[in-house]
Symmetry: C2
DNA sequence: AACCGCTTTTGACTTTGATCAAAAGAGCAT
DNA sequence: ATGCTCTTTTGATCAAAGTCAAAAGCGGTT
């Protein structure tokens, strides 16, 4: 079936699956189904029984939880090539967070049971998962560090840097991937703070902001400003690409 | 050799190793050596070539990094049964953080190469590592949530709760495991803020503080105050026990 | 007891970011 | 173009936490 083999091809591009044998990948994709979802659609909510894990073909998905007193905590915001829901393999069978589409998306849903079985029987996949988890873990460590060591303008600068390919030298144009309110919460600040912090960053580094488009003459402007409060000097390797 | 079999026995108590066959565990412990270290000793610094991973028998160890502008970011503070340095298996062979003894400790050092080889050849261990990584990942997610959603007194209260066994009903006595300055940085705040926040917590919940000893009549006092800003209602399962 | 070095607390002040309220801008349908 | 909605910005104010400085407390020695 054509759509099945396209799914296999897509998954092969993702680090955690890229080393797998064709047959293993096909077993995982056996029950795959595609779904298109528009902005604001809730894929599942925290506590729902976990049947599927998801891989994003395009668009953006927000993972979040709500606190008892009604605030929202963003876990992560994911896009093309990212995977989510797969950690429920190691859990009690419920999703530990809710997932909402924040930019129209094409998504592949795959049964957790099949992934679980393959991991348990396929050493290669288990190791790939371990590597992926380790990378994610490192990313989270860095996230915690950023939240405590960087102030608001620095966090924005750091985020912008991570949107670029890391060895550009000349002028760079960056497009913010989703709206500024969401970006604010991704960076752990209020929308008003984001707006003001972006102005401050503009002041401090000379970047040019036009709506969701940002231009800078070179990355150094930003790295000097943002990476000072960070433990890993710039091209902060490893943190860019990852599957949830 | 007696000390070798004691090491095996100790590792067997740790979740990630508990399901292993005796022979597998013995292979990992083959080159084990014990070390006693006093407060302030640096085990390794970030960037050192990673040869060993460590398991703590007793005492406390701080993992941290330094930012370019000279501040210190605490990664984690670990004690009995915790493991660290093992993620270097998935890295470029250097430790990604520094490790310092903060309370006199007894530690087992084991070669990373042996662990790596065992993981690659032993499906059971790979799966146990995956489970352990998933638990740690969840913990980190919670840590990020705490840092953004809870204020200073709430974070302290939450930390105290996690020092208790979670189903106590009557009065509880808690001993702070290490000094307050370190605890402050573990919770992402300044020592002065910690001191004042603890007073505020005392005010708000009626806990009694005498030096490093804290008494409370029941956990509810604290949970009402601290867990309101959190997404997982109290006994916050999973987060207590873990390896690294 | 007196002293030393350390941790912890307290005080005064500053800075950062949150909050509340309102205005401005952008996108879209009519 | 007009009106509608939603996002973003701006302004004014407030609260939380950081900073700097000094005092108090707490072992452990001598």
């Amino acid at each position: 079936m054509l759509s099945r083999s396209k799914t296999v091809d897509f998954l092969r591009e993702i680090p955690v699956f890229s080393g797998l044998e064709q047959t293993a990948l096909e077993r995982i994709c056996m029950q795959a189904h595609d779904l298109d979802a528009v902005k604001a659609k809730l894929l599942f909510v925290s506590g729902d029984p976990a049947e599927f894990f998801y891989v994003i073909k395009s668009g953006w998905v927000k993972l979040f939880r709500e606190t008892l007193d009604g605030n929202v905590a963003i876990i992560d915001i994911l896009t093309t090539g990212h995977m989510f829901g797969e950690t429920s393999i190691f859990e009690d069978g419920a999703y530990p967070y809710s997932a909402e589409i924040v930019e129209d998306a094409a998504i592949i849903a795959l049964p957790l049971a099949d992934l679980k079985q393959e991991i348990e029987n396929n050493q290669q996949l288990a190791l790939a998962m371990l590597t992926s988890m380790a990378r994610y873990r490192k990313q989270q460590e860095q996230e915690i560090e950023h939240r405590t060591m960087q102030n608001a303008p620095q966090r924005i600068g750091c985020f912008l840097l991570r949107l670029t390919r890391q060895n550009e030298t000349g002028p760079v144009t960056i497009h913010l991937p989703y709206d500024k309110t969401l970006l604010a919460s991704r960076l752990g600040m209020q929308p008003e703070t984001f707006s003001r912090a972006l102005s401050k960053l503009k002041e401090a580094t000379g970047i040019r902001v036009k709506g969701a488009t940002i231009e800078l003459d070179n990355l150094e402007q930003l790295t000097n400003y943002s990476c000072a409060a960070c433990s890993s000097e710039f091209p902060c390797k490893d943190i860019a690409a990852s599957s949830s």
